[in-house]
Symmetry: C2
DNA sequence: ACCTGAACACCGTTCAAGT
DNA sequence: ACCTGAACACCGTTCAAGT
């Protein structure tokens, strides 16, 4: 008789940080950040809210940090051909925007929480691609911040959906995003 | 005997939306957004929390909308010499960044709240400056969104204070901001 | 080790009542 | 018109207790 590891009396697997973050993200995506409460999260996990504290001792703070780490950590992968850095950054930007749009509810957290590694590692990956493309170190560092700042800021504008232009024309957001992206990338060298 | 208008039994002026928003902003700036509660706001105004609802029937939602309107509504003024649009936009960007830094606590709200006029009017003013500078309509619209998105996003990165670079160098944020701003403005035409 | 149950101090908001 | 006081349903979190 092999011992079943990690199955408790109620016949369900014990909680894990991953399952907790996943459930929290589902609540935020489906109902909004304001409805993410420890008690509701407990319900979703079929557990008393207090059980969550056993896995996240810092409580809700740690939960929100986990959400940011899960959503905002998306470094650009290394590029085979260094010269194609412009295309690589464009592709990364599209992916990052989509990620933020999918989990729009965590955007305020991305913008608020102090000093998480998420953005640091992401911005470092961008700088590395620029560096390998032959862009001077100082320019690469500035351009990496500019690009990440643009993607986050523009996506924030899009999510908030200022759906018209001030001139009563509907905004084609993906086109806007691409146009701005080109503007940012065009002068990097 | 001239009637003293709007002085009540307790010998203090009645509340007004302006005084409420001011007090709320002071709490957010001094103690952070999380500590802005209706009861604390009431204390600051020397009033029971429930009195606030008489002036803001939509309650805390309306209060937060008011904070965003107060902080994020900062259109660029009209420019005498249309040809100097690049300098005008640079000056506006510096002012807007400073505003957001001063009231960093409301940044998550700026990024979250749906469809306030604040950003719409601001972006419209940027587009107008570009238009008068002779930039084609479509480019002007895209560049205005790009610029506002950049300023908000980059300031958000700065506020969160990823104080090092991933390469252990301290970041000179104002210099970074200027470098990115030039990058954005350089290719607009 | 992992989870529960009761409890505490605090929320936002309503509603009837006071002046 | 403007504000108060009590009340309601909900928070995050602690702590001792169960298995």
């Amino acid at each position: 008789m092999v011992r079943q590891p990690a199955i408790n009396a109620q016949n369900r697997p014990p909680l894990s940080i991953e399952r907790i973050i996943d459930a929290a993200l589902r609540i935020v995506d489906g109902q909004g950040l304001a409805r993410l409460t420890m008690r509701r999260l407990g319900d979703a996990l079929e557990v008393e809210a207090m059980a969550i504290y056993h896995h996240l001792p810092r409580g809700k703070e740690q939960l929100l940090d986990g959400l940011v780490a899960h959503v905002a950590t998306a470094p650009a992968g290394p590029v085979a051909d260094g010269a194609a850095w412009r295309d690589a950054l464009r592709a990364w930007a599209h992916g990052y925007r989509e990620r933020l749009m999918e989990h729009a509810g965590v955007l305020p957290l991305v913008v608020t929480r102090r000093n998480p590694v998420a953005l640091t590692t992401t911005v470092a990956s961008l700088r590395e691609i620029l560096r390998r493309g032959g862009v001077p170190e100082a320019t690469a560092a500035a351009a990496a911040h500019t690009l990440l700042g643009y993607v986050i800021g523009h996506t924030a504008l899009e999510v908030r959906g200022t759906d018209e232009d001030g001139a009563d024309r509907a905004v084609d957001w993906p086109a806007r995003f691409d146009a701005g992206l080109d503007l940012v990338l065009a002068s990097v060298s």
